[in-house]
Every structure is written in structure tokens, then in C-alpha cells.
Amino acid sequence: MLYFSKIRIVLISLFTLTFFYLAISNFIKLDDKLFDKKINLGLDLQGGSYLLLEVDNKPVVAQRLQNSISILRKYFKDKNIRFKNLKIENDEYITFQIKNDNILKIKELFINKNSDINPYYPQYKSHQFDLKITNNQFNLRFSEYGLIKIKNSSLDQALEIVRRRIDEIGTNEPNILKRGNNRILVELPGLDDPMRIKNLLGKTANLTFRFVIQNAEETFGSEKLLFEDDSEEALVSKRIILSGDNLLDAQPRMDNQTNQTVVTFNLDRVGSKRFAKATKTGIGKRLAIILDGKIVSAPVIQSSIVGGSGQITGNFTFQSATDLALLLRSGALPAPLNIIEERTVGPDLGQDSINSGIIALLIGFFLVIIFMLFKYKIFGLIANITLILNLFLLLGILTLFEATLTLPGIAGIILTVGMAVDANVLIFERIKEESKNEKNKIIAFDSGYTLSKTAVIDANITTLIAAIILFFMGSGPIKGFSVTLGVGIFTTLFSVYFIARLLTSIYVSKNKDKEKLI
């Protein structure tokens, strides 16, 4: 175990030097473009905000059921199928009744793999709807995979909108990721007050232009809506003149005549036409501008607007106008988002954590080094050199993979310092035992290394197992801990079996005639 060929010595040195260089490059501005990777600091160290958003799919499902009902109604009419009581129950399923004689034929329309009204998804081997028939009563409920499809598509849309909104604000390197099938994770480094972003993400931004009416109308239906300041109510038609989808652009402006802040907008071609037509026929009426179920304003139409642009007035501050414009530009969320987890760390606390982490590391390191030197003298020195190189290897590997260092991650490094000497201690103690019976120092050292190997490997694998499980089950900062702990095991094994063993072999071969080596 003690013999090293020249080529191995060169390889070990090269390997160690490379990672030493990588580790150093984090601290010293090295003047070359050879390598520009760095260890990332976690949100708990650099400060920042972590938000977990959940898509509330209930309104989406309700909307989809609503759409399906109109499709069904049209389909039945086209096919001359007589039905009654077609409606949505409990916002969960569609129900209707038909004449007895057709049941099998109609059933076939729904369970056929080429069904027009109940699409079949071959990849899931499932239809969109599960069908239940009792007598002549049909119940259509979204199948498991039908729901998954809806969730996936609303998650994709929501992700896109969230990304656009955050990009518009222009924060530093945001991290926006899908989590599961209805969650979005947002990490915003350097942001110590996420209020504005939370506000922007908390709004669906569903914009519609609808007429204010005097009496409830039959054809489209109507509803009573509150103004934004909850001051008054107005009855508005359910007929949508324009929606946010028709918007090309929106900007906050200062209106020169009234000195009010407004939001101006431009419409696409379809939107322009509809807007022109509506304003032409509706002169004198009030057009309500409705955002997320509340009336922003309801100006009286003075003249027809043909240019495809207009402005929204309301009680805006410049900030709120800017935010509204931003929301309109980035589009509406398919469903409301709820913030179900938030963790924000201010930058000064992050810096404090880095400082105390480094102090703890240095003190822990110092104590361990003093102890080892005291306990093993020259071999303590070898163990200490190994330990220092081990730290550089660990930092080097974290740099190479651009890993994220968190506060628990620093704790993991300190723990590695404490536990890394274990392998050397196991080996040294074994060598001491072997030296009692074996006069030939080289052989004693050799068997010390060989005999302790299973214990060293087994002992390290157990810690590695714990680290791997933590990596997969933990989140955020804890993941950082498992990474440093796990990588620390590999660097420990390398530094003990290559670096320390090399140093030991050099020392022993030069001093093999000494009476007491260890």
C-alpha cells in the first residue's frame, strides 16, 4: 500500500493543484479567462427571497366545464340528440339526461377512441372525461389525466406569465422553476423586500371592457360589480367587448390636461375593430374597465375611438399605474396564484451569517489542527496538511460544479473538518497496533493501511448514505448541507488515501530505521 509510482505522484499532484487553483479562484481575482466559475451563495447568505406559489386550479376547471357545456349543447343540436337538464353540478361535473332509446348510441359517442367530444389521450390511455350513466342520467367528470392535462397547461401558462412579470421588473438573475404539477418556485437573490413582486404575482390581471347597463339583460346575463375602492356598485353586462388578450402594449402616462396618471394602451387589429364598433354604437353609455372582478373606472363614451388606442383612468399613483401597465403587458394568469411559502433574508443578516460561519470554521479548524499536532506529532502534521488540502479540494469541487453554498452548507464543511481526521486516526491507530508485533516499519505501515481499509470505507459510506437521502428529501439550505457533507466524504477519502498516504510513505521510507515512528 505504501508504494507510489512516479506517474501516480505526478497525477495526484496535478489533481490536487487543479482543485487548489479552482478553490483559490473564488477569493482572489485571478487575471485570466481560463476559468470563471464560482461557488454560488445561497439566498440565506447573500440575502434574497424565496417564494413558492401554488396555482389555484379551481377556477380553471370551472371555466373548462363551462366551455365543455357550450360545446356539448352545440354538438347535441347538430346531431339532433334530445337532452334536458344540461348543467354543471358543484363545479365538479357536467350532468344531463337523454331519451332512453338512444343511451347506447350516445354512450358510444363518449367512449369511442375517436370521440369528438371526449378526446382520447393515447399517451395516458384515458379519455378527457370519465363517464357515469345511471338510467338516462349522464355524468361527465374530468378523468385523472384530464385534470393533469388542465393542470399542466395552466402551470405552463402561469410559469410564462410569472417569468414575464419578473423580467419586466428587472431583478438580478431570478430563478423560476416548476415544482410538481401545480407549483412554481421563485428565487430572487438580493431582494430584501419582495412586497412589490408578491403584489404583482398575486394579481391574475384579468382585464375586460364591458358596458354598464341599467336593467338586467337576458341574452348575455349581467352581474353586479364593486368599484376598486369599494365605494359603489354597478350593474355590468357579461358581454365582453375587449379583453386583455387584445392588448399589444400598455404604458403609464401623465395626462397633460387633467394632470392625472393614466395607463395608455394599444390594441391589436381585432381589438381595434371591436373597440371602434362598440364605441360608435355606445356613445353616451358607460364602458366599465374591469380588472380581476372589480371596476377600475367606467368612463362615459364621448366619441367613437377608431385609432386602436385608449387610456384607462382611475385613482392611480404613478407606481400603481406602472404596475398595472406591467401586468397588462405581461398578460393575465390563467388562474390565481397563492403564495404558500415565503422565506426572505436581508443582505445584512446574510453577511452576518457568512462572517459567523467563517469564524466558526476557522476556530473549529484551528482546534482540530492543534489537537492532531499534539496527539500525533509528525503524523499529526501530515494529517493536518491533508486536512487543509481536503478543504481546498472540497471548495474546488463545489466551484467546478458551481454548487450553491448555504449556511448549513458551511456547517457541513466544519463538520467535515471534524470527521475527516477520522480516517487518518483509524489508520494511524492501526499502524500503532501493527508496530507492536512487526519490527519492519514499512510492513507495519503497509498492513496498517490495508487492515483499516474496510472500516474506513464502511464508516464513510454510512455518512454518504445519510447525505444522499438528505439531498433528495431536503430543500434549499438543507440541500446545501447535504452537498458539502457528501462531497466532503469523497475529498476526504481521496486526500487520505492519496495525499496522506503519499506523505506517509515519503516520511517512512526516509526514517525507517528510527526506533519509534508513530
Partner: protein, 300 residues
């Protein structure tokens, strides 16, 4: 350190009784008193705040938060003199302005000389998921260790090691329950690391037991475990000592956030070292492990 011959095995019975007693107390505490879950596992909000003038007393701060109608509020000092940790149950996920409203309210009560240094808000759904995955992680790691030792040794060893692990985890959690210390995500990380560490310690002794079993056919397991413990004793002490040095420096200098984590680890290392000697080994004796136990495997 000269080779010692301490008769550990004479005290197997005594320490087993003590361990049973501690385990029993811990289980009673865990069942009837339960654990003090932090917001990670219970849901709610914590705010770490620093007050920049020293006029505001902790009772004034507490009263200010109580006036805000946030449910159960706890306020305690956190590290430095003017740093406080405020914890309350309410978490308003539909109101994006929740935190800034609290900030405004607080400014009315105590003036504006304060900073929110850290805010963590966890909804009930997320917290129950975190609790579940934490428990799964601990269960999974115990199972993984059980199988690893089973593969590397024999089932008797595996059983001994796993019982030692359960002993360490339960007593550490019992300690947290007794002193009402908070259980959060980092404590779960600590418990998993304890599992790894305690295993590591047990494995080293077991490795020596196995080696000695092959070497000596005439020594019974009762004495054999004692020999093995003694032979590996200086390593056990040195490694536990250096690990404790590292953990102690995290506990003392690593800042408030790591205090609970490092305390759990310190306890775990102490119990882990103890249980490797006084739980894992007596079980080998109890299961009458002999040379035959390991030779059977070599023939296969």
C-alpha cells in the same frame, strides 16, 4: 494513548438499564408532551428583527404584536441584545401585503427604528408536507443503514446497529421535547447526520469484532466485544473529540440560526458514541454471535 483494558462488558447490564430508562422517558415525552415544531412543520410566520434604538423593551415589542391580532405570538431575544425573533401562527396567503402591513403597524407602536432581517412564512399545506418528507427521510435513512450493514455484515450486526441508531434518535428527540427546543428543518438534517455518524462509529467497532471473530475461536462474544471496544477505543475517543470540537465551534460562534442544529448534533455524537459501545455490542452478545455466524457467510 497506551492500550487500555477497561471492562466495558461488566457494565453492559447497568447501562442497558439506564438506556431503557432514558428511552422510556423519551417515548413518554414524545407521546404525551410532543415536540415543539417550528413554522417549518407547523405553519405560521417568523420574523427576525433588529431594533436600532435600545429604548424598546421586549415586553413592549410583545405587546405591540399582541395588539395586531395575529393569534399566538411568541417574542424572544435572538443572539444580540436588540435582535428578536417573533413567531406567530397566522399566515395570510391571500394577502400579498401581509408582511408590509405588519411592518407599518409595528412602526406605529415602536417607531421606525427597526429592520426585518428575516421573514419566513409557511402555509399549512407546505408545513405538513415538510413534516411528512422529514419523517420519510429519517425512516428511509434508518432502512438504508439496516440494509447496508446487512449486506456488509450479518443480520445480527445489522439489528444491533439499527437499535443503537433508534436509541440515539429517540433520546435526542426526547431531549428536545423535554427542554421544549424547537424542531425545524435543520434539526431533521442534524438527525440524519447523527444517523450517519452513529453508524460510522458502530461500524468501526463491528469491523473489529468481525476481524477478531475470525482470529479467535476460543473467546466468547462477551469478552470478544470487550477486546474489540478496547482496541478501537482511542480512535473512538479521538474522532468523537475532534467532531465535538468542530460542532462546539459551530454552536458557539456559528450564529443563532445554527444553534439548534449544532446542539442536536452534539447530543447525537455523544449518544452515538455511547450507543456504539453500550447498545450495539450487548445486542451481539444477546444474539449469541459466534465464529460460526460469520464463517457461514464466507462459505456461501
Amino acid at each position: 494513548m497506551e492500550k487500555k483494558n477497561i471492562h466495558f462488558n461488566k457494565f453492559y447490564k447497568l447501562f442497558n438499564l439506564i438506556s431503557f430508562f432514558l428511552l422510556f422517558i423519551s417515548l413518554i415525552l414524545l407521546i404525551f408532551k410532543g415536540l415543539n415544531y417550528g413554522v417549518d412543520f407547523k405553519g405560521g410566520t417568523i420574523i427576525e428583527l433588529r431594533i436600532n434604538d435600545s429604548k424598546t423593551s421586549i415586553s413592549k415589542l410583545r405587546q405591540s404584536f399582541l395588539n395586531m391580532n395575529l393569534g399566538d405570538v411568541s417574542v424572544k431575544q435572538f443572539g444580540k441584545e436588540n435582535d428578536y425573533l417573533v413567531k406567530f401562527e397566522k399566515k395570510d396567503s391571500n394577502n400579498a401585503n401581509f408582511i408590509s402591513e405588519i411592518k407599518q403597524d409595528l412602526a406605529i407602536y415602536i417607531g421606525s427604528e427597526f429592520d426585518f432581517r428575516r421573514v419566513e412564512s409557511v402555509g399549512p399545506k407546505v408545513s405538513s408536507e415538510l413534516l411528512r418528507s422529514g419523517m420519510i427521510a429519517i425512516g428511509l435513512s434508518l432502512t438504508a443503514m439496516l440494509f447496508y450493514i446487512w449486506i456488509r455484515f450479518e443480520w445480527q450486526f445489522s439489528l444491533g446497529a439499527i437499535l443503537a441508531l433508534i436509541h440515539d434518535v429517540v433520546i435526542t428527540l426526547g431531549f428536545f421535547s423535554f427542554f421544549n427546543l424547537e424542531i425545524n428543518l435543520s434539526i431533521v438534517a442534524a438527525v440524519l447526520t447523527i444517523v450517519g455518524y452513529s453508524m460510522n462509529d458502530t461500524v468501526v467497532i463491528f469491523d473489529r469484532v468481525r476481524e477478531n471473530l475470525k482470529k479467535f475461536s476460543d473467546i466468547n462474544i462477551y469478552d470478544l466485544t470487550n477486546i474489540s471496544i478496547n482496541e478501537t477505543l482511542s480512535r473512538t475517543i479521538i474522532t468523537s473529540f475532534t467532531t465535538l470540537l468542530a460542532l462546539l465551534s459551530i454552536y458557539l460562534f456559528g450564529g443563532e440560526i445554527l444553534k439548534g442544529f449544532s446542539l442536536a448534533m452534539i447530543l447525537g455524537v455523544i449518544f452515538g458514541t455511547y450507543s456504539s459501545i453500550y447498545i450495539a455490542n450487548p445486542i451481539l452478545v444477546l444474539l449469541k454471535v459466534s465464529q460460526k455466524t460469520i464463517l457461514k457467510k464466507d462459505k456461501d
